[in-house]
Protein backbone atom coordinates (compact mmCIF):
# COMPACT_ATOMS: atom_id res chain seq x y z
CA UNK A 1 0.00 0.00 0.00
CA UNK A 2 1.50 3.36 -1.02
CA UNK A 3 1.35 5.80 1.84
CA UNK A 4 3.18 9.10 1.09
CA UNK A 5 3.22 10.02 4.79
CA UNK A 6 5.14 6.85 5.67
CA UNK A 7 8.71 7.76 6.71
CA UNK A 8 10.35 4.74 5.14
CA UNK A 9 8.61 5.44 1.82
CA UNK A 10 9.73 9.07 1.97
CA UNK A 11 13.28 8.00 2.72
CA UNK A 12 13.26 5.62 -0.22
CA UNK A 13 11.84 8.27 -2.56
CA UNK A 14 14.51 10.72 -1.44
CA UNK A 15 17.19 8.13 -2.23
CA UNK A 16 15.88 7.45 -5.75
CA UNK A 17 15.71 11.22 -6.35
CA UNK A 18 19.37 11.58 -5.40
CA UNK A 19 20.38 8.73 -7.67
CA UNK A 20 18.29 10.06 -10.56
CA UNK A 21 19.87 13.50 -10.19
CA UNK A 22 23.38 12.05 -10.06
CA UNK A 23 23.20 9.44 -12.78
CA UNK A 24 23.69 11.88 -15.68
CA UNK A 25 27.14 12.50 -14.21
CA UNK A 26 28.14 8.82 -14.40
CA UNK A 27 29.69 7.08 -17.41
CA UNK A 28 30.91 3.58 -18.19
CA UNK A 29 34.42 3.27 -19.63
CA UNK A 30 34.75 0.07 -21.66
CA UNK A 31 37.96 -1.82 -20.90
CA UNK A 32 39.80 -3.69 -23.67
CA UNK A 33 39.96 -6.87 -21.59
CA UNK A 34 36.16 -6.86 -21.32
CA UNK A 35 33.97 -5.34 -18.64
CA UNK A 36 33.96 -1.70 -17.72
CA UNK A 37 34.93 0.88 -15.14
CA UNK A 38 32.83 3.80 -13.89
CA UNK A 39 33.76 7.42 -14.40
CA UNK A 40 32.46 10.72 -13.15
CA UNK A 41 31.58 13.56 -15.51
CA UNK A 42 33.68 16.37 -14.09
CA UNK A 43 33.03 18.90 -16.85
CA UNK A 44 30.97 18.66 -20.05
CA UNK A 45 33.92 17.05 -21.83
CA UNK A 46 36.12 15.76 -18.98
CA UNK A 47 35.68 12.50 -17.09
CA UNK A 48 37.66 11.54 -13.99
CA UNK A 49 38.13 7.90 -13.11
CA UNK A 50 40.22 5.54 -11.02
CA UNK A 51 43.74 5.45 -12.46
CA UNK A 52 44.69 2.11 -10.88
CA UNK A 53 41.90 0.27 -12.71
CA UNK A 54 42.15 2.08 -16.06
CA UNK A 55 44.10 0.00 -18.57
CA UNK A 56 47.31 1.63 -19.83
CA UNK A 57 46.13 2.81 -23.22
CA UNK A 58 45.23 6.18 -24.75
CA UNK A 59 41.73 5.76 -26.13
CA UNK A 60 38.55 4.28 -24.74
CA UNK A 61 34.93 3.90 -25.67
CA UNK A 62 32.64 5.57 -23.17
CA UNK A 63 28.92 4.99 -22.58
CA UNK A 64 27.22 8.09 -21.19
CA UNK A 65 23.89 8.25 -19.34
CA UNK A 66 21.08 7.11 -21.61
CA UNK A 67 23.32 4.70 -23.52
CA UNK A 68 25.13 6.97 -25.99
CA UNK A 69 28.63 5.84 -26.86
CA UNK A 70 31.46 8.26 -27.53
CA UNK A 71 35.20 7.95 -27.91
CA UNK A 72 37.42 9.47 -25.27
CA UNK A 73 41.16 10.17 -24.97
CA UNK A 74 43.22 9.92 -21.81
CA UNK A 75 44.74 13.39 -21.25
CA UNK A 76 46.48 12.86 -17.92
CA UNK A 77 47.09 10.30 -15.20
CA UNK A 78 48.29 10.65 -11.63
CA UNK A 79 48.97 7.34 -9.87
CA UNK A 80 49.81 9.37 -6.74
CA UNK A 81 46.20 10.43 -6.20
CA UNK A 82 44.62 7.67 -8.34
CA UNK A 83 43.06 10.24 -10.66
CA UNK A 84 42.94 9.83 -14.44
CA UNK A 85 41.44 12.57 -16.62
CA UNK A 86 39.77 11.42 -19.83
CA UNK A 87 38.49 13.84 -22.49
CA UNK A 88 35.31 13.12 -24.45
CA UNK A 89 35.37 13.68 -28.23
CA UNK A 90 32.17 15.70 -27.87
CA UNK A 91 30.79 17.39 -24.75
CA UNK A 92 27.64 16.10 -23.06
CA UNK A 93 25.33 18.06 -20.77
CA UNK A 94 26.42 17.92 -17.16
CA UNK A 95 25.20 19.36 -13.92
CA UNK A 96 27.49 21.42 -11.74
CA UNK A 97 29.47 19.66 -9.01
CA UNK A 98 28.63 20.73 -5.49
CA UNK A 99 31.24 19.47 -3.03
CA UNK A 100 29.84 17.56 -0.08
CA UNK A 101 31.19 17.33 3.45
CA UNK A 102 32.28 14.02 4.93
CA UNK A 103 31.14 13.24 8.47
CA UNK A 104 31.57 9.97 10.30
CA UNK A 105 28.25 8.15 10.50
CA UNK A 106 26.59 10.22 7.77
CA UNK A 107 24.85 8.44 4.89
CA UNK A 108 26.80 8.02 1.68
CA UNK A 109 25.61 6.85 -1.74
CA UNK A 110 27.99 5.27 -4.22
CA UNK A 111 26.86 5.64 -7.82
CA UNK A 112 28.42 3.49 -10.51
CA UNK A 113 27.63 2.81 -14.14
CA UNK A 114 26.21 -0.35 -15.66
CA UNK A 115 27.44 -1.37 -19.10
CA UNK A 116 24.60 0.31 -21.02
CA UNK A 117 24.34 3.84 -19.65
CA UNK A 118 22.29 3.05 -16.55
CA UNK A 119 23.23 3.61 -12.93
CA UNK A 120 24.14 1.29 -10.08
CA UNK A 121 23.63 2.48 -6.52
CA UNK A 122 24.87 1.43 -3.10
CA UNK A 123 24.29 2.97 0.28
CA UNK A 124 26.25 2.94 3.49
CA UNK A 125 27.66 5.23 6.11
CA UNK A 126 30.93 7.12 6.22
CA UNK A 127 33.06 4.79 8.31
CA UNK A 128 36.02 7.07 8.97
CA UNK A 129 37.21 10.58 8.21
CA UNK A 130 40.86 11.35 8.84
CA UNK A 131 43.15 14.23 7.88
CA UNK A 132 45.39 14.53 4.85
CA UNK A 133 47.38 11.43 3.88
CA UNK A 134 49.99 10.24 1.38
CA UNK A 135 49.49 7.28 -0.92
CA UNK A 136 52.12 4.63 -1.54
CA UNK A 137 52.71 6.36 -4.90
CA UNK A 138 53.57 9.61 -3.12
CA UNK A 139 50.44 11.62 -3.85
CA UNK A 140 48.91 13.94 -1.26
CA UNK A 141 45.21 13.32 -0.66
CA UNK A 142 43.27 15.98 1.22
CA UNK A 143 41.24 13.70 3.49
CA UNK A 144 41.06 10.01 4.21
CA UNK A 145 37.40 9.05 3.83
CA UNK A 146 36.50 5.38 4.29
CA UNK A 147 33.02 4.06 3.48
CA UNK A 148 31.02 1.17 4.89
CA UNK A 149 30.06 0.16 1.35
CA UNK A 150 30.90 -3.01 -0.56
CA UNK A 151 31.77 -1.48 -3.92
CA UNK A 152 31.62 -3.58 -7.11
CA UNK A 153 34.72 -3.57 -9.33
CA UNK A 154 32.92 -1.97 -12.27
CA UNK A 155 31.47 0.70 -9.99
CA UNK A 156 34.88 2.08 -9.01
CA UNK A 157 35.53 5.61 -10.28
CA UNK A 158 31.96 6.84 -9.85
CA UNK A 159 30.82 9.66 -7.56
CA UNK A 160 30.09 9.32 -3.84
CA UNK A 161 27.21 11.51 -2.66
CA UNK A 162 26.35 12.75 0.80
CA UNK A 163 22.73 12.85 2.00
CA UNK A 164 22.21 16.34 0.57
CA UNK A 165 23.44 15.26 -2.88
CA UNK A 166 26.83 16.97 -2.51
CA UNK A 167 29.77 15.11 -4.04
CA UNK A 168 32.26 13.75 -1.48
CA UNK A 169 34.55 12.58 -4.25
CA UNK A 170 35.39 9.62 -6.48
CA UNK A 171 35.16 6.05 -5.25
CA UNK A 172 38.37 4.02 -5.16
CA UNK A 173 39.08 0.46 -4.08
CA UNK A 174 41.63 0.41 -1.29
CA UNK A 175 43.39 -2.55 0.30
CA UNK A 176 41.17 -5.61 0.85
CA UNK A 177 38.51 -4.00 -1.37
CA UNK A 178 37.79 -1.33 1.19
CA UNK A 179 35.88 1.54 -0.47
CA UNK A 180 37.67 4.85 -0.01
CA UNK A 181 36.98 8.29 -1.45
CA UNK A 182 39.35 10.55 -3.37
CA UNK A 183 37.91 13.86 -2.11
CA UNK A 184 36.43 16.48 -4.43
CA UNK A 185 39.07 18.96 -3.16
CA UNK A 186 41.86 16.66 -4.38
CA UNK A 187 40.23 16.23 -7.79
CA UNK A 188 39.81 20.03 -8.05
CA UNK A 189 43.50 20.48 -7.32
CA UNK A 190 44.80 17.72 -9.60
CA UNK A 191 42.59 17.84 -12.73
CA UNK A 192 43.70 21.30 -14.00
CA UNK A 193 47.37 20.15 -13.92
CA UNK A 194 46.47 16.89 -15.64
CA UNK A 195 44.64 18.78 -18.40
CA UNK A 196 47.58 21.19 -18.80
CA UNK A 197 50.62 18.90 -18.39
CA UNK A 198 49.28 15.34 -18.51
CA UNK A 199 50.92 14.55 -15.18
CA UNK A 200 51.54 15.94 -11.71
CA UNK A 201 54.96 17.43 -11.13
CA UNK A 202 56.84 16.04 -8.12
CA UNK A 203 60.20 16.78 -6.61
CA UNK A 204 63.01 14.30 -7.22
CA UNK A 205 66.30 13.32 -5.60
CA UNK A 206 67.27 10.75 -8.21
CA UNK A 207 68.10 7.96 -5.77
CA UNK A 208 66.86 4.44 -5.18
CA UNK A 209 66.78 3.93 -1.43
CA UNK A 210 66.24 1.06 0.96
CA UNK A 211 65.11 1.43 4.57
CA UNK A 212 67.86 0.16 6.89
CA UNK A 213 68.55 0.11 10.59
CA UNK A 214 71.32 2.49 11.67
CA UNK A 215 74.21 0.39 13.11
CA UNK A 216 74.09 0.57 16.90
CA UNK A 217 77.51 2.24 17.22
CA UNK A 218 76.24 5.21 15.18
CA UNK A 219 72.81 5.49 16.82
CA UNK A 220 73.80 8.39 19.10
CA UNK A 221 75.54 10.41 16.39
CA UNK A 222 72.66 9.83 13.99
CA UNK A 223 69.98 10.58 16.58
CA UNK A 224 67.65 8.02 14.99
CA UNK A 225 67.42 4.26 14.66
CA UNK A 226 66.73 3.97 10.92
CA UNK A 227 67.42 5.71 7.65
CA UNK A 228 67.40 5.21 3.88
CA UNK A 229 70.46 3.65 2.31
CA UNK A 230 71.39 4.75 -1.22
CA UNK A 231 71.26 1.67 -3.49
CA UNK A 232 71.75 3.45 -6.79
CA UNK A 233 71.76 6.97 -8.20
CA UNK A 234 70.40 8.41 -11.42
CA UNK A 235 73.23 9.96 -13.46
CA UNK A 236 73.06 13.72 -13.21
CA UNK A 237 70.20 13.55 -10.66
CA UNK A 238 70.16 15.90 -7.65
CA UNK A 239 71.64 13.36 -5.19
CA UNK A 240 74.40 12.31 -7.60
CA UNK A 241 75.24 15.96 -8.35
CA UNK A 242 75.42 16.67 -4.62
CA UNK A 243 78.06 13.92 -4.31
CA UNK A 244 75.99 11.13 -2.74
CA UNK A 245 77.35 7.63 -3.31
CA UNK A 246 75.83 4.18 -3.02
CA UNK A 247 75.99 3.03 0.60
CA UNK A 248 75.31 6.44 2.16
CA UNK A 249 72.52 6.24 4.72
CA UNK A 250 70.37 9.34 4.40
CA UNK A 251 69.06 10.43 7.80
CA UNK A 252 67.15 13.57 6.94
CA UNK A 253 66.18 15.95 4.17
CA UNK A 254 66.25 19.42 5.74
CA UNK A 255 64.57 18.89 9.10
CA UNK A 256 62.47 15.92 7.92
CA UNK A 257 63.75 12.61 9.25
CA UNK A 258 63.83 9.69 6.80
CA UNK A 259 62.49 7.53 9.62
CA UNK A 260 59.02 8.39 8.42
CA UNK A 261 58.29 8.23 4.69
CA UNK A 262 55.36 10.63 5.07
CA UNK A 263 57.77 13.39 6.12
CA UNK A 264 59.98 12.89 3.10
CA UNK A 265 57.14 12.60 0.61
CA UNK A 266 55.67 15.82 1.99
CA UNK A 267 59.03 17.51 1.29
CA UNK A 268 58.97 16.45 -2.35
CA UNK A 269 55.75 18.11 -3.56
CA UNK A 270 55.57 20.22 -6.72
CA UNK A 271 56.60 23.30 -4.71
CA UNK A 272 59.94 21.68 -3.79
CA UNK A 273 61.27 21.78 -7.37
CA UNK A 274 64.30 24.08 -7.55
CA UNK A 275 64.66 24.26 -3.76
CA UNK A 276 67.99 23.63 -2.04
CA UNK A 277 67.84 21.05 0.75
CA UNK A 278 70.36 19.75 3.29
CA UNK A 279 70.90 16.01 3.08
CA UNK A 280 72.25 14.61 6.35
CA UNK A 281 73.74 11.16 5.98
CA UNK A 282 76.11 8.53 7.36
CA UNK A 283 79.23 7.73 5.32
CA UNK A 284 82.18 5.64 6.51
CA UNK A 285 81.00 5.72 10.10
CA UNK A 286 80.51 9.48 10.37
CA UNK A 287 77.53 11.80 10.05
CA UNK A 288 77.95 14.55 7.45
CA UNK A 289 75.72 16.72 5.34
CA UNK A 290 75.56 18.13 1.81
CA UNK A 291 73.30 20.42 -0.10
CA UNK A 292 71.22 19.15 -3.03
CA UNK A 293 68.90 21.00 -5.40
CA UNK A 294 65.60 19.20 -5.99
CA UNK A 295 64.59 18.88 -9.64
CA UNK A 296 61.38 17.71 -11.27
CA UNK A 297 60.88 13.96 -11.40
CA UNK A 298 61.27 12.82 -15.01
CA UNK A 299 58.19 11.12 -16.42
CA UNK A 300 58.47 7.33 -16.27
Amino acid sequence: MFDPSDLLTQFSIALTQRVTAAKTAVVAIRLPAGGHLSGMLWRADVIVTSDQSLTKRDEFEVVTAGGFTASAKVVGRDPGTNIAAVKLSQPVSSGSIIPGEAQVGALALAIGADANGGARARMGVVNAVEPEWYSSHGGRIDQRIVLDINLGRSEEGGPILDAAGGILGMSTLGPRRQAIVIPTATIERVVPSLLRDGHIARGWLGAALRPVAVPEALGDAAGQSSGLMVMSLSDGGPAATAGSVAGDIILSVDSASTRRMNNITARLGADSIGRKVDLRFIRSGAVTSRQATITERPSP
Binding site: A33, S50, Q52, T55, K56, N82, W133, Y134, S135, S136, G138, R144, T172, L173, G174, P175, R176, R177, Q178, I180, W204, L205, A207, A208, L209, R210, P211, V212, A213, V214, P215, E216, S225, S226, L228, M229, M231, G247, I249, R259, R260, M261, N262, I264, T265, L268
Partner: protein, 186 residues
Amino acid sequence: MSAALKPIPSIQLRVAIHATTPLRRVALSKILAAAGYIVVDAQDAADVVLADGDCAQIEDTPTVVLGSVDRPVSGSLAPGADAHQIDAALRAVAAGLIVRSPAAKEAGFDQLDESDVQGLLTPRELEVLGAIMEGFTNKTIARHLDISLHTVKFHVESVFRKLGVRCRAEAVARALDSKHFRTIKL
Protein backbone atom coordinates in the same frame (compact mmCIF):
# COMPACT_ATOMS: atom_id res chain seq x y z
CA MET B 1 47.40 -50.76 -8.27
CA SER B 2 46.38 -51.14 -11.92
CA ALA B 3 48.59 -49.68 -14.64
CA ALA B 4 46.00 -47.09 -15.58
CA LEU B 5 46.13 -45.52 -12.13
CA LYS B 6 49.90 -45.01 -11.99
CA PRO B 7 50.82 -41.39 -11.39
CA ILE B 8 52.23 -39.50 -14.37
CA PRO B 9 56.01 -39.28 -13.96
CA SER B 10 56.86 -35.75 -12.86
CA ILE B 11 58.29 -33.65 -15.66
CA GLN B 12 61.10 -31.26 -14.90
CA LEU B 13 59.82 -27.89 -16.06
CA ARG B 14 62.17 -25.38 -17.66
CA VAL B 15 61.64 -21.96 -16.09
CA ALA B 16 62.97 -18.58 -17.29
CA ILE B 17 63.22 -15.84 -14.64
CA HIS B 18 62.72 -12.13 -15.30
CA ALA B 19 63.64 -10.41 -12.02
CA THR B 20 64.01 -6.75 -11.08
CA THR B 21 67.45 -7.21 -9.52
CA PRO B 22 70.24 -9.79 -9.86
CA LEU B 23 69.92 -10.58 -6.15
CA ARG B 24 66.24 -11.34 -6.52
CA ARG B 25 67.01 -13.50 -9.54
CA VAL B 26 69.46 -15.49 -7.45
CA ALA B 27 66.93 -15.94 -4.66
CA LEU B 28 64.19 -17.05 -7.05
CA SER B 29 66.61 -19.43 -8.81
CA LYS B 30 67.42 -21.05 -5.45
CA ILE B 31 63.76 -21.63 -4.67
CA LEU B 32 63.18 -23.13 -8.12
CA ALA B 33 66.26 -25.33 -8.01
CA ALA B 34 65.28 -26.63 -4.57
CA ALA B 35 61.82 -27.48 -5.90
CA GLY B 36 63.33 -29.45 -8.80
CA TYR B 37 62.92 -27.02 -11.69
CA ILE B 38 65.48 -26.37 -14.40
CA VAL B 39 66.27 -22.66 -14.49
CA VAL B 40 67.12 -21.52 -18.01
CA ASP B 41 68.42 -18.19 -19.34
CA ALA B 42 65.86 -15.53 -20.19
CA GLN B 43 66.36 -16.00 -23.94
CA ASP B 44 66.25 -19.83 -23.88
CA ALA B 45 63.12 -21.82 -24.60
CA ALA B 46 61.17 -22.27 -21.38
CA ASP B 47 57.98 -24.05 -20.40
CA VAL B 48 57.06 -21.33 -17.93
CA VAL B 49 58.22 -17.79 -17.17
CA LEU B 50 58.44 -16.43 -13.63
CA ALA B 51 58.52 -12.61 -13.71
CA ASP B 52 58.45 -9.67 -11.33
CA GLY B 53 55.60 -7.27 -12.09
CA ASP B 54 57.85 -4.64 -13.68
CA CYS B 55 59.68 -7.16 -15.85
CA ALA B 56 56.80 -9.08 -17.40
CA GLN B 57 57.10 -9.13 -21.18
CA ILE B 58 54.50 -10.06 -23.73
CA GLU B 59 55.05 -13.61 -24.85
CA ASP B 60 53.22 -16.81 -25.54
CA THR B 61 54.85 -18.85 -22.78
CA PRO B 62 52.64 -19.29 -19.70
CA THR B 63 53.78 -16.68 -17.20
CA VAL B 64 53.52 -16.36 -13.43
CA VAL B 65 53.82 -12.71 -12.37
CA LEU B 66 54.85 -11.67 -8.85
CA GLY B 67 53.16 -8.34 -8.25
CA SER B 68 50.77 -6.30 -10.28
CA VAL B 69 50.61 -6.29 -14.04
CA ASP B 70 48.07 -4.53 -16.22
CA ARG B 71 47.48 -7.17 -18.84
CA PRO B 72 46.07 -10.66 -18.62
CA VAL B 73 48.63 -13.29 -17.55
CA SER B 74 48.15 -16.95 -16.75
CA GLY B 75 49.38 -16.62 -13.18
CA SER B 76 49.28 -13.68 -10.81
CA LEU B 77 50.73 -13.87 -7.29
CA ALA B 78 51.49 -11.32 -4.58
CA PRO B 79 55.07 -9.94 -4.75
CA GLY B 80 55.91 -11.74 -1.50
CA ALA B 81 54.47 -15.12 -2.51
CA ASP B 82 56.22 -18.00 -0.73
CA ALA B 83 58.02 -20.99 -2.27
CA HIS B 84 54.96 -23.25 -2.01
CA GLN B 85 52.75 -20.79 -3.85
CA ILE B 86 55.35 -20.20 -6.58
CA ASP B 87 55.78 -23.95 -7.05
CA ALA B 88 52.03 -24.59 -7.20
CA ALA B 89 51.45 -21.68 -9.59
CA LEU B 90 54.23 -22.72 -12.00
CA ARG B 91 52.89 -26.28 -12.23
CA ALA B 92 49.32 -25.05 -12.65
CA VAL B 93 50.03 -22.56 -15.48
CA ALA B 94 52.26 -25.13 -17.23
CA ALA B 95 49.21 -27.41 -17.19
CA GLY B 96 47.15 -24.65 -18.84
CA LEU B 97 45.31 -23.43 -15.73
CA ILE B 98 44.84 -19.85 -14.61
CA VAL B 99 46.15 -18.92 -11.16
CA ARG B 100 45.07 -15.96 -9.03
CA SER B 101 46.01 -15.24 -5.45
CA PRO B 102 43.53 -13.37 -3.31
CA ALA B 103 46.29 -11.06 -2.06
CA ALA B 104 47.27 -9.94 -5.57
CA LYS B 105 43.65 -9.29 -6.46
CA GLU B 106 42.78 -7.50 -3.24
CA ALA B 107 45.66 -5.05 -3.39
CA GLY B 108 44.14 -1.62 -3.83
CA PHE B 109 45.06 2.04 -3.61
CA ASP B 110 46.92 2.21 -0.33
CA GLN B 111 48.65 4.45 2.13
CA LEU B 112 52.35 5.06 2.20
CA ASP B 113 53.88 2.18 4.08
CA GLU B 114 55.88 3.20 7.13
CA SER B 115 58.75 0.81 7.71
CA ASP B 116 58.59 -1.28 10.83
CA VAL B 117 61.79 -0.11 12.50
CA GLN B 118 62.03 -3.29 14.61
CA GLY B 119 62.52 -5.59 11.62
CA LEU B 120 64.93 -3.41 9.64
CA LEU B 121 68.39 -4.81 8.91
CA THR B 122 71.61 -2.83 9.11
CA PRO B 123 73.71 -2.50 5.92
CA ARG B 124 76.08 -5.19 7.23
CA GLU B 125 73.19 -7.54 7.99
CA LEU B 126 71.87 -6.97 4.46
CA GLU B 127 75.29 -7.96 3.08
CA VAL B 128 75.31 -11.11 5.20
CA LEU B 129 71.76 -11.96 4.11
CA GLY B 130 72.76 -11.42 0.47
CA ALA B 131 75.64 -13.86 0.97
CA ILE B 132 73.32 -16.41 2.60
CA MET B 133 71.07 -16.10 -0.45
CA GLU B 134 74.10 -16.85 -2.65
CA GLY B 135 74.52 -20.06 -0.67
CA PHE B 136 77.79 -19.08 1.03
CA THR B 137 78.89 -20.70 4.30
CA ASN B 138 79.78 -18.60 7.34
CA LYS B 139 83.46 -19.24 6.65
CA THR B 140 83.18 -17.98 3.08
CA ILE B 141 81.19 -14.96 4.22
CA ALA B 142 83.88 -14.13 6.80
CA ARG B 143 86.59 -14.25 4.13
CA HIS B 144 84.45 -12.32 1.65
CA LEU B 145 83.58 -9.48 4.04
CA ASP B 146 86.97 -9.61 5.76
CA ILE B 147 85.50 -10.07 9.26
CA SER B 148 85.93 -12.80 11.88
CA LEU B 149 83.84 -15.97 11.86
CA HIS B 150 82.56 -14.95 15.29
CA THR B 151 81.26 -11.63 13.89
CA VAL B 152 79.58 -13.41 10.97
CA LYS B 153 77.77 -15.73 13.39
CA PHE B 154 76.71 -12.70 15.39
CA HIS B 155 75.27 -11.02 12.26
CA VAL B 156 73.57 -14.22 11.07
CA GLU B 157 71.87 -14.62 14.44
CA SER B 158 70.72 -11.02 14.36
CA VAL B 159 69.33 -11.46 10.80
CA PHE B 160 67.47 -14.61 11.86
CA ARG B 161 66.03 -12.85 14.90
CA LYS B 162 64.89 -9.81 12.90
CA LEU B 163 63.36 -11.91 10.14
CA GLY B 164 61.81 -14.31 12.66
CA VAL B 165 63.36 -17.40 11.05
CA ARG B 166 65.33 -20.41 12.32
CA CYS B 167 67.42 -21.50 9.33
CA ARG B 168 69.10 -20.25 6.17
CA ALA B 169 66.47 -21.65 3.82
CA GLU B 170 63.73 -19.87 5.74
CA ALA B 171 65.76 -16.67 5.67
CA VAL B 172 66.08 -16.87 1.87
CA ALA B 173 62.34 -17.42 1.52
CA ARG B 174 61.56 -14.56 3.89
CA ALA B 175 63.99 -12.22 2.16
CA LEU B 176 61.90 -12.51 -0.99
CA ASP B 177 59.12 -10.79 0.88
CA SER B 178 59.13 -7.40 -0.78
CA LYS B 179 59.20 -5.55 2.56
CA HIS B 180 62.78 -6.50 3.36
CA PHE B 181 64.24 -5.79 -0.04
CA ARG B 182 61.99 -2.97 -1.06
CA THR B 183 63.60 0.01 -2.74
CA ILE B 184 61.99 3.40 -2.79
CA LYS B 185 62.70 5.75 -5.67
CA LEU B 186 62.83 9.36 -4.56
